[in-house]
């Protein structure tokens, strides 16, 4: 086997591209620098295969009415479970749970419904400023729209956001900042556009 491969044509010497490289090559968007696009591809790949996110889409233009070109591609997707629970919502959930326990109903406690999140890809070596974060926040909505919903009538979209019901605690924009390092590590931090009291994990 090894011998037969070595005796093949010279082009065969380079290994075939990995599945990830194949993904990276596909669908460059022509409106952003290729490295920004690759960064987004890489984060999307990580979300899908390491964190089991679904309905991932990469946005190149602002989802707001005027559809500006975004400073860089931004990802939206649906996590398998809720990523962020506002502290006040947490209190509400705990109250509900204790009430259920008091009524001794055997119904399983239902956790908070997963919500679509914005994911902002970035590299650890990049320099950011308050201005560049503001530029991102100014171009996105509070909750990302579900790509399936976009096919429906526009009127429907304005009434229901995504598949989940509207969360009354989600009033301030947030993105998950996906920071990529050269070794392949990707860390996710939530950045709020304003003052939001911290969670009491």
């Amino acid at each position: 086997m090894a011998l037969s491969r070595a005796s093949g044509p010279a082009a065969r010497l380079s290994p075939p591209p990995s599945a990830l490289s194949e993904t990276m090559k596909t669908a460059e968007d022509n409106c952003h620098e290729p490295y920004l696009h690759h960064l987004a591809q890489r984060v999307a790949h990580n979300l899908q295969y390491q964190h089991q996110w679904t309905a991932i889409s990469i946005h190149t233009n602002s989802p707001l009415a005027d559809s500006h070109l975004l400073p860089r591609p931004i990802i939206s997707g649906l996590p398998p479970q809720r990523i962020y629970v506002h502290p006040d919502e947490q209190i509400e959930l705990l109250k509900d749970e204790s009430k259920r326990k008091a009524e001794s109903t055997a119904s399983k406690p239902e956790g908070p419904v997963p919500e679509r999140e914005w994911v902002l890809p970035a590299h650890l070596k990049e320099k950011w400023s308050l201005k560049s974060f503001a530029a991102i926040f100014d171009e996105i909505g509070t909750v990302p729209r579900d790509p399936d919903d976009q096919k429906q009538d526009r009127d429907d979209i304005s009434q229901s956001v995504g598949t989940s019901t509207i969360n009354k605690w989600r009033t301030i924009k947030r993105v998950m900042l996906a920071t990529v390092d050269d070794d392949g590590t990707i860390v996710y931090y939530i950045v709020h556009d304003g003052i939001v009291k911290p969670r009491q994990n």
């Binding site: 964190h51 996590p79 990523i83 962020y84 970035a122 590299h123 650890l124 070596k125 990049e126 320099k127 950011w128 400023s129 308050l130 201005k131 974060f133 503001a134 926040f137 100014d138 009033t171 301030i172 998950m176 900042l177 920071t179 860390v187 996710y188 931090y189 939530i190 950045v191 709020h192 556009d193 304003g194 003052i195 939001v196 009291k197 911290p198 969670r199 009491q200 994990n201």
Partner: protein, 319 residues
């Protein structure tokens, strides 16, 4: 509860740092204006003390600036004022001040004496003895026990007047005791008025000089206006710590860092701050003045304050 404070209050500037020496002012500023300062006063007898510090309270330049802008306080150059005031003091005034201190010292010494003798009587009563008129001279046991329990007295009295340690007491008891009865305590007043006349605020041209503050001042003011108490953030490697109420009652919510609008910083800083903040159940907050302020939805934007300050909070996402 506290005596009335006459506004505006003086803030002493000593060697480029700002201090409050009046306990009433410190509590007033904290209660009414949500400014805590940092108590840094130590006792000369306990130079290693690093908790439960007392007055003076040191203020950050940001805090001073905020108070001056609110016309609650004004800054006085402490060294210059003292130099002038004491140089221009007449001899009779000087004598009057010294006499007042002497009187205060005598009063304090007498009170300490009364307290000590009362304690001695009680100790003797417990042992079933009665206080003999010359008990001080012959009862060595009581003298040493007195010195033993009287650590407060040793701590707070001036060294010359404090009771000597038990070993000293046994050797030179009578002499030191008799001196003790007559000699007044040395008085170190926390404030230099009534010795001097109270400082008068600069009247019409005030405030002409707003004190300098670091570039992060807009963020400080923004958070303060939102009702947060701010303290220096060195403990968590940040610029400020933001408490939702008085720091004596609440844990802090945010580790705050001020930045210029277009100042560039590495993402590692944000990741590190976010991770540390989450580890101690706080948020990492970074903010500054939006100098361009062209954001189209500025009216609805929660993060945009009156002074155009915009802040972002960072938390670990948990994945």
């Amino acid at each position: 509860m506290a005596t009335a404070v006459t506004l505006p209050v003086p803030i002493s500037q000593v060697a480029g740092r700002y201090f409050l020496y009046n306990a009433d002012v410190v509590t007033f500023i904290r209660r009414e204006h949500h400014i805590t300062g940092v108590l840094i006063g130590n006792l000369p007898q306990a130079p290693q003390q690093n908790i439960f510090s007392g007055i003076p309270s040191e203020l950050m330049p940001e805090e001073v600036r905020l108070l001056v802008e609110k016309k609650v306080a004004y800054v006085i150059e402490d060294a210059a004022r003292h130099r002038n005031a004491f140089r221009n003091m007449s001899g009779s005034e000087r004598m009057a001040v010294l006499a007042a201190f002497d009187k205060q010292g005598r009063e304090a010494a007498r009170k300490a004496q009364n307290k000590a003798s009362k304690r001695q009587e009680e100790a003797l009563k417990r042992k079933g003895m009665t206080a003999a008129p010359k008990v001080r001279n012959d009862s060595r046991a009581s003298a040493s026990s007195e010195a033993g329990v009287d650590e407060d007295e040793i701590l707070f009295a001036s060294p010359a007047n404090s009771f000597p340690t038990p070993t000293l007491a046994s050797t030179a008891s009578q002499a030191s005791v008799s001196v003790n009865e007559s000699k007044p305590f040395g008085i170190t007043p926390a404030m230099s008025y009534p010795a001097l006349s109270p400082p008068t605020p600069p009247s019409e041209s005030w405030p002409t000089s707003i004190p300098e503050a670091p570039p992060s001042y807009p963020l400080f003011k923004y958070l303060h206006d939102k009702g947060y108490f701010l303290s220096p953030g060195l403990r968590f490697g940040a610029q400020y710590m933001a408490y939702p109420g008085d720091p004596l009652r609440f844990h802090s919510h945010f580790l705050a860092v001020g930045k210029e609008w277009e100042e560039e910083w590495e993402l590692g800083e944000l990741v590190g701050g976010g991770r540390l903040g989450t580890g101690v159940k706080k948020g990492f907050l970074v903010g500054g003045t939006a100098t361009d302020s062209v954001s189209k939805d500025s009216n609805t934007n929660e993060g945009l304050g009156d002074q155009g300050v915009r802040a972002f909070c960072v938390e670990w996402s948990g994945m």
